[in-house]
């Protein structure tokens, strides 16, 4: 029985800022951390990072949702990767805050939908703090703002209810890159970003701080750096 956990009612969430990481490397890092978390070698951990331009394919991806040809991808410098997470096609790139919670969900959180809703809730909380009103759309996982989809979610839960993958929040990405895909298989939906919604720029580190706290709160974790 964890006394500290009892008194605060919360288990800690360590936040690790990795900077810019290639998608494949991030997958490798997560695989290792998932094993480490399962073996209790590390605490619950939130990875915050950015990816170079990449199109990733989730397990339920429709290949036709990748619109750019391989030549176009090459000229734009976009990689194509299998993701090992749920969801459809997603684009990641600079200016997007990617968050990968490696969290051992406790028994009362053993619910995949609840976890998705918690991530959405955290993003909505964080966006509110930054001055943007985000919302859910019934049946469409992710977070939406007035101008369109602002954050994408796709997760994996490994044996022992250890989470990986997570969310990608458009802070200030070059939105033209989204034209290379049908994001998450949803057509006729615009993509927006935090900068676009606010009309001014917010420092990435500030967004990181706000989101780390929001994720910790939603998951009932105590946030420490």
């Amino acid at each position: 029985m964890n006394r500290a956990g009892i008194v605060s009612g919360q288990v800690p969430l360590a936040v690790r800022r990795l900077g810019k990481v290639a998608y494949r490397d991030a997958v490798t890092i997560q695989d290792k951390l998932v094993r480490d978390r399962r073996d209790e070698r590390i605490p619950d951990t939130l990875l915050l990072l950015q990816h170079p331009h990449v199109i990733t394919l989730g397990s339920s991806s429709d290949p036709s949702h990748v619109l750019a040809s391989s030549d176009q991808r090459a000229s734009l410098g976009i990689e194509l990767c299998e993701a090992g997470r749920g969801g459809d096609v997603t684009y990641h790139g600079p200016g997007q805050l990617v968050g990968y919670p490696i969290v051992a969900l406790e028994k009362r959180r053993h619910d995949l939908h609840r976890y998705l809703r918690d991530l959405e809730g955290a993003l909505i909380d964080g966006l509110a703090e930054l001055g943007v009103q985000g919302h859910r759309l019934q049946g469409l996982t992710g977070v939406w703002a007035s101008g369109g989809k602002i954050a994408a979610i796709g997760v994996r839960v490994s044996s022992g209810w250890i989470t990986s993958h997570g969310f990608a929040l458009n802070v200030a990405p070059d939105l033209s890159y989204f034209a290379t895909i049908v994001p998450c298989g949803i057509e006729d939906r615009a993509i927006t970003s935090l900068d676009l919604e606010l009309g001014h720029t917010v420092a990435m580190t500030e967004v990181e701080n706000v989101m780390a706290r929001a994720v910790a709160e939603r998951l009932g974790r105590r946030f420490f750096v």
Partner: protein
């Protein structure tokens, strides 16, 4: 297909990580499933050998569907018999020696993780449809049935969830009619111990409908029929006391720290329109503790234990006359102020009789306040379907002896303290569990976090 979430009704098998004939450890991932936006690895519910895979990759099936069979006997035998088990997947042959306690069922389908799904599948199986036949038999049994031209729907299943075992179908073929299973083999089958049915009969007789005995009316007495709340309360209390062996433990808790928080935050709460009573603090503390004590937030159901997935706290409200227990759902997700507001709302609507039925259901733990009118403490009855109830005694000023931090000497000080009692179902909760829970509660309440 295990239940991976309350609102998840189906899953797609995206990848089998193990194939037929391979052995698996308990909790080793055996397959990956995907639902919208989530991929999940599914661990083996028991160690053994995979003898058949019932759902192919890419297929989407409902929660509760059997996706594979694991033979747990193989792990008990030597290599040669394990191999023969794998080549001829006999699933429910009675073991030569009783299986060890850790593996209660020789056959554990992944679906049998929740009581509810098992219960549902039993209901479905009583209808002899094609699906029903499939779900209450194994490939081996179906093959034997086919070879002998037997309709499986006519065979009584003695296996897990009334599944037709190989023994059942062979006995049926041998005897040529339903039900005449050799009693000696039936007795050796771990699924059909005669003791079980005896217990069931006893249970039924003993726990049948509650009857309140009649008493003679004397002169000057007044006789009134019980109203609905009284009648239901009477019945619930009798059943609760009959079923659960009650034990009570006590602890004394100091409310000085909480008093200080209440004084400091009073103005802020008033601005928020919130009333944060002692009970709100107790609900907050209890809801943060319960996830660490799953048995206290559980219940005995048949021969199973249900560990509840949410923390729903029932609060006894005095209606004078009568008593009702509205429920604060997912209390562990509410802040202290949120809990305070919820209590005010529920108690108010309880008194004006405006609660909806779902607001008095699904509590996983209850709190009652016998101390409200100065009573020292009570011995509360555990509401049926839960494992524990907390009684809060009167919180009053007392002279207590503490050790002075600075001088190290004993000192008499005036503190606000109250005695709390935990009533718990000893079938599920042991005295030490209760002691740990109460000690934890005392710890939280006496050093209450400022940011709750």
């Amino acid at each position: 297909m295990p239940q991976m979430g309350e609102s998840i009704t189906e899953g797609t098998v995206s990848k089998w990580l193990k194939s037929v004939g391979q052995s698996v450890e308990r909790d080793e991932p055996i397959m990956e499933i995907s639902t919208d936006k989530v991929d999940a690895e599914i661990p083996a519910p028991a160690a053994g050998t995979i003898v058949s895979i019932e759902v192919d990759e890419g297929e989407t099936v409902e929660v509760g569907t059997i996706v594979a069979y694991i033979d747990t006997e193989g792990v008990l035998s030597d290599n040669s018999s394990a191999a023969s088990v794998a080549t001829e997947p006999v699933l429910e042959t009675p073991a030569p020696t009783p299986p060890p306690v850790e593996i209660p069922d020789p056959l554990v389908p992944p679906a049998s993780q929740t009581v509810d799904s098992t219960a549902e599948s039993v209901d479905e199986e009583s209808v002899p449809t094609e699906d029903g036949v499939r779900s209450r038999s194994t490939p081996v049994v179906r093959r034997i049935a086919e070879e002998h031209g037997v309709d499986i729907a006519l065979v009584t299943g003695t296996g897990h969830a009334e599944r037709v075992t190989k023994q059942d179908i062979l006995s049926y073929i041998e005897v040529g009619k339903e039900g005449e299973v050799d009693p000696t083999t039936a007795a050796t089958s771990p699924q059909s111990t005669p003791a079980h049915s005896e217990v069931s009969d006893l249970w039924k007789t003993f726990y049948g409908q509650v009857q309140n005995p009649e008493f003679p009316v004397r002169e000057g007495d007044r006789v009134e029929p019980m109203d609905k709340i009284r009648r239901l309360t009477a019945e619930h209390m009798v059943v609760a006391k009959r079923v659960a062996p009650h034990v009570h433990s006590f602890i004394e808790i100091d409310f000085t720290a909480i008093d200080r928080i209440r004084k400091d935050s009073k103005e802020q709460w008033q601005e928020q329109g919130a009333r944060v009573s002692y009970t709100a603090f107790v609900v907050w503390a209890v809801s943060r503790l319960l996830p660490e004590f799953p048995q206290i937030n559980g219940t005995v159901a048949g021969n199973n234990i249900i560990y509840r997935g949410s923390v729903n706290i029932g609060i006894a409200v005095d209606l004078d006359p009568g008593l009702i227990v509205p429920v604060i759902r997912d209390a562990d997700n509410l802040s202290l102020v949120g809990i305070g507001m919820k209590i005010t709302d529920l108690a108010g609507r309880a008194r004006s009789r405006q609660l909806s039925p779902d607001e008095i259901q699904a509590s996983t733990f209850s709190i009652t306040n016998p101390g409200v009118l100065g009573t020292l403490v009570g011995l509360p009855i555990i509401p049926k379907g839960t494992a524990a109830i907390l009684g809060t005694g009167a919180i009053e000023k007392q002279v207590v002896v503490i050790e002075d931090n600075v001088s190290g000497t004993d000192a008499m000080v005036i503190r606000k303290r109250g005695v709390f009692s935990l009533g718990y179902d000893h079938r599920l909760v042991d005295g030490a569990d209760a002691a740990r829970f109460l000690a934890g509660l005392k710890g939280v309440l006496e050093a209450f976090p400022e940011d709750a």
